[in-house]
Symmetry: C2
Subunit: 259 residues, 2 copies
């Protein structure tokens, strides 16, 4: 296994290493590779390996490491076996554009989910670390300029949330986002703002197919009333979109956004 | 207005007081009463009052106070007017039964949403403040005994989440929860555990109508893979249930729970 490990680390291929830290077979290891869909080693039995591998893939996708508990054969919510799941992968990124009332709540929820969070707003007075202490980075710049700089590093597990609600900033931000491989592009705004924005995007040459990548108005249709509830509606949409579960998204429903 | 305030405070009636702290009409106040559906005072104009009152009701329902920004006539995501919304109401409560891997994540997300969170587990070794530092209270006791003690204080804005996944604990917990007016009763478990549990509840004399109050398996069908994603699926369900939005809940869908 150590040969595989050193090869994966050298190639910067994402993987998770599960180690029994309490219970039968202490020290036993299972190496989980998402790209190869392969397992190497064992924690003691096949059913335990299967459950631990599933959880390891979840942790890996979220870029998180942590302790999990199982029964002897992988039973949930039992405590016989304690494992440490170590993820070797960069955490997913979330870029939030707009230092507005909704931003702080979204930063908090995104951090619980393991994102590396960057807040960006062109207005220096609002884009401060003091306003968003939990953000990993706060940048005072135009959204499209930041995306032009870091966009190459964005992939399907990453998210862009455009909360600026000002066509001067968000049209260029959407145009720049569409050039990246980012998995989620959410754009906040009332249903009317959304319609206006679509017109402007089409005038800028954005195709119908590109527009299907946008989640606008942003979030699941939860009738959210507070910034915190809105943040929950955004991350719910991100999760359901990634797992391809059906959902009632604001982009597909009609009627009032707030409950 | 001060007469109304002192009356509401004396009667312990929930209300929100909105005060302009920056911008035109600094110091102007709007008193929002959810039970009477009435407004008293003004922040300067009707459209600003309407938007601020809507947000104040949201904050009040979440038991939170905080600063919001608007345009001169209540436009979202503008900054001309800064108000402080002060909620006078106890925060909503969440009781979480079972000190398991999912509990810590649910505590974190519930705290972002403004809940007062109690974690309860009969196993003293797991029910410790050290494991759940963000919980307001950690109780080592049987779930049904805690509900018998505090159940009288639970109402529609409160939530009970039963994560024990052990019929020995969760059947009595469900029976005790059903005696309260709590707005949300979520019960974790695989689809098979859910079926077994229903049988036991019916044997205990629980009616079909009472069973419709249970959200089981707990949460929205997001294909959640980590404890954090599961926590998001739970609070999404709580929000959508309260705002009566349609949703894909695990209780109404079939197929695998995890993505």
């Amino acid at each position: 296994m150590f040969e595989s490990l050193s090869k994966l680390l050298k190639e910067e291929t994402p993987f998770a290493l599960v180690t029994v830290i309490e219970g039968t077979n202490k020290g036993a290891k299972l190496l989980v590779q998402p790209l190869e869909k392969s397992l190497e080693g064992t924690l003691g039995n096949e059913s335990l390996d299967r459950v631990a591998a599933r959880d390891a893939l979840g942790e890996l996708a979220a870029g998180r490491s942590g302790v999990r508990h199982y029964g002897l054969h992988g039973e949930a919510r039992e405590e016989a076996i304690q494992v440490f799941i170590e993820s070797f992968a960069p955490p997913p990124q979330m870029l939030i554009f707009g230092a507005v009332d909704f931003t702080g709540a979204l930063v908090k929820v995104a951090k619980v989910l393991g994102y590396r969070v960057t807040v960006c707003d062109a207005r220096e007075i609002f884009a401060t670390k003091k306003r968003f202490p939990q953000a990993d980075e706060v940048v005072a710049d135009w959204p499209n300029r930041l995306i032009d700089q870091v966009g190459y590093s964005l992939d399907t597990q990453d998210a862009i949330c455009i909360l600026t609600h000002d066509n001067k900033f968000d049209v260029p931000a959407v145009l720049a986002s569409l050039k990246t491989k980012v998995g989620y592009i959410g754009v906040m705004g009332s249903r009317r703002t959304h319609e206006d924005r679509l017109e402007r995007l089409k005038e800028s040459g954005v195709s119908e197919k590109e527009i299907t990548r946008l989640r606008s108005p942003i979030g699941m249709d939860l009738g959210a009333r507070t910034p915190e509830e809105t943040a929950i509606s955004v991350v719910s949409e991100i999760i359901a979109l990634r797992t391809k579960r059906p959902m009632h998204a604001l982009k597909d429903t009609a009627g009032p956004i707030h409950g």
